[in-house]
């Protein structure tokens, strides 16, 4: 019998614990497939964050470390420096990466650590129950911005791809979205490239996924994708910000 779809070996049999309609599962699968396709299952290690994907260490079928909130890039730095023959990635949400862990991500990127960082941006804190994130959109209501995010008071959302592409060291920085099958196929290419560059130890690679949180947005999964398309994509524009492996891409060092 011909197998046309299967669980990658890089995922364990543990069922995902995510809410119905959540896109973490899609992001996990894209990363797992890229690792398998690059033949890295025996040399890969991941670092899970604090947030909804805190249990990612149970889902990926290779060595995994669980980091303190925001510290994944520092933990990954220690791991990669200790075992340069391993390939290391972090998987982080917006609160983890762009709030409590801002220093760690900026400096890991600035050092050009040979890591991949997968950043899931859904504009909200998921696990703690829908609080305001550094990427929460202007006027967007959350449990800690009940009257809408007041940019005069708390500032504008942080665009991490743009911020990190001001640095010299990062090798590859791209923002993708997970809102439709066509976008997921594009995302798969970007993830594949990040893992390929990781395998080749080229440098720091950063993929941001524009994602959704139907549960905490209070919008059903299908409509939440429309909401993200209308509200998130205009602010968080998809595209490649840096690719030192390809010419003619914005930010390439010549």
């Amino acid at each position: 019998m011909e197998v046309i779809a299967r669980r990658p070996e890089t995922l364990t049999k543990t069922p995902f614990t995510y809410c119905p309609g959540c896109l973490h599962g899609v992001a996990h699968r894209l990363i797992a497939e890229a690792i398998e396709e690059n033949g890295l299952i025996n040399q890969m290690a991941g670092v899970a964050p604090v947030g909804c994907s805190v249990f990612a260490y149970k889902f990926f079928n290779f060595d995994m470390a669980e980091a303190a909130h925001g510290r994944a890039p520092a933990v990954a730095t220690g791991m990669k420096r200790a075992r340069p023959d391993m390939h290391v990635f972090t998987y982080q949400g917006d609160g983890d990466l762009a709030a409590i862990g801002t220093a760690e991500i900026v400096h890991a990127a600035n050092r050009g650590e040979k890591l991949s960082v997968f950043f899931v941006n859904n504009a909200i804190y998921g696990m703690t129950g829908g609080q305001m994130a550094p990427t929460t959109l202007p006027d967007m209501k959350t449990t800690t911005s009940p009257y809408g995010r007041n940019v005069e008071d708390i500032g504008y959302p942080i665009r991490m791809c743009e911020l990190l592409s001001t640095l010299v060291a990062p090798y590859y920085v791209e923002r993708v979205s997970l809102l439709s099958p066509a976008e997921i196929i594009k995302a798969k290419k970007a993830v594949g490239k990040a893992i390929q560059y990781n395998r080749e130890n080229r440098g720091f690679t950063f993929i941001e996924f524009v994602s959704t949180c139907p549960t905490n947005w209070g919008i059903d999964p299908v409509k939440s994708r429309d909401w993200a398309r209308e509200n998130m994509l205009p602010f968080f524009k998809v595209g490649c910000f840096r690719d030192k492996g390809e010419e003619n891409v914005q930010g390439v060092e010549k």
């Binding site: 520092a74 220690g78 391993m86």
Partner: protein, 354 residues
């Protein structure tokens, strides 16, 4: 050689090839020594963006099973406490050096012993212990580097060397143990491959190592914490270390002091000896596990006073009282703010007991 440099050199000789830290006075010679020497031995020196990042790099490298060290001074050690708790919770071997200075807050940059509670009684959140070693000379500071790595590896537990600005800055002659050979370092680097982050060399389908301190099921977390406490019981049984000085049945006063303070107390005891006054000293070398029983044993038949001297407001004093259990009165005298007491001051305090 300065204590800060001696402990760095000794760590490298013990096979430490990974060091992550952030600059702070009075331990700067340590980070600078590492910056200079690590590249020469093919090791990793990384000046982290913060104390928090440094300790999390230690978590990552220790999770990868390699000998790794960080160092700082009091305010920086406070910042590291989150990571220290995670390292203890995940049962990772790592060495942390604290070259203490005066506090609280920014305090000053003079020697102090004010981080005893933080090192011995907690520091970070949750039920855990560090193994805490307290040197009182540059030689001992250096020797403790290899002891600390051995203990960390043996018990999969973070070990703190609790030094101070005086030992860090002071110059004394040091004899180093022979440096580990590359072969020995390679063996050390692979001693933890049963559980650490490492390549799945033989392609074992079941290879899935987790470095983690999270467990949401209360009964499983209870089991884990109990397991850690069983481990601590073994440490308490096997690893207590202390030094006795001039302890005899003639003692009328028994002093307890640790680290730098103990040297000054020794000088005072020598002076009193000339006057025919017998004073003993017990110096805890491991602050955790603490030498409770050794203190009880050192209380001679004529001892009418136990006297605790520290460069703080009386922190180890609590442990001395726990040990003494009211058998004899316990007195305390200390200096704070980075001011170090003199032998004459200690002598005066002790003379008042006769």
């Amino acid at each position: 050689m300065k204590g800060n440099e001696a402990v760095a050199e000794a760590a490298i000789r013990s096979g430490c090839r990974l060091y992550f830290a952030y600059p702070i006075t009075p331990q700067s010679e340590l980070i600078e020594y590492m910056a200079k020497m690590m590249p020469k031995v093919g090791g990793t020196f990384l000046q982290a963006e913060s104390e928090v990042a440094a300790i999390n790099m230690v978590y990552g490298a220790a999770g990868a099973g390699k000998r790794v060290m960080t160092s700082s001074s009091s305010p920086g050690i406070s910042l590291k406490q989150e990571g220290i708790s995670y390292i203890a919770g995940a049962e990772l071997p790592a060495v942390i050096v604290n070259v203490q200075r005066g506090g609280p807050g920014l305090g000053d940059i003079q020697p102090a012993q004010a981080d005893y509670f933080q090192a011995v009684k907690g520091g970070g959140h949750g039920d855990y212990h560090l193994i805490v070693l307290a040197p009182n000379s540059v030689q001992e500071f250096a020797d403790m580097a290899s002891d600390a790595f051995d203990l960390a590896d043996k018990y999969r537990n973070p070990v703190m060397i609790l030094s101070d600005g005086m030992l860090g800055q002071m110059m004394e002659p040091v004899e180093f143990k022979p440096a580990k050979t590359q072969e020995e370092i390679n063996t050390l680097g692979e001693q933890h491959t049963a559980w650490c982050i490492c390549p799945n060399a033989d392609g074992d389908a079941k290879h899935h190592h987790e470095i983690n301190s999270l467990e949401l099921d209360p009964s499983v977390l209870e089991k884990h914490v109990n397991h850690m406490y069983e481990k601590y019981a073994v440490v308490e049984k096997n690893e207590v270390r202390c030094e006795t000085y001039n302890v005899s049945d003639d003692n009328e006063v028994l002093c307890v002091a640790w680290g730098s303070a103990s040297r000054i107390v020794k000088s005072a005891i020598n002076e009193l000896k000339k006057e025919g006054k017998s004073v003993g000293l017990i110096r805890p070398i491991t602050l955790w596990p603490y030498p409770y029983e050794a203190i009880v044993k050192a209380i001679g038949p004529k001892v009418r006073q136990v006297y605790v001297f520290e460069l703080n407001t009386g922190q180890m004093l609590d442990d001395v009282k726990i040990a003494v259990e009211g058998r004899v009165p316990v007195k305390f005298w200390g200096k704070v703010g980075g001011i170090v007491f003199t032998p004459a001051e200690i002598q005066e305090k002790l003379e008042a007991c006769f």
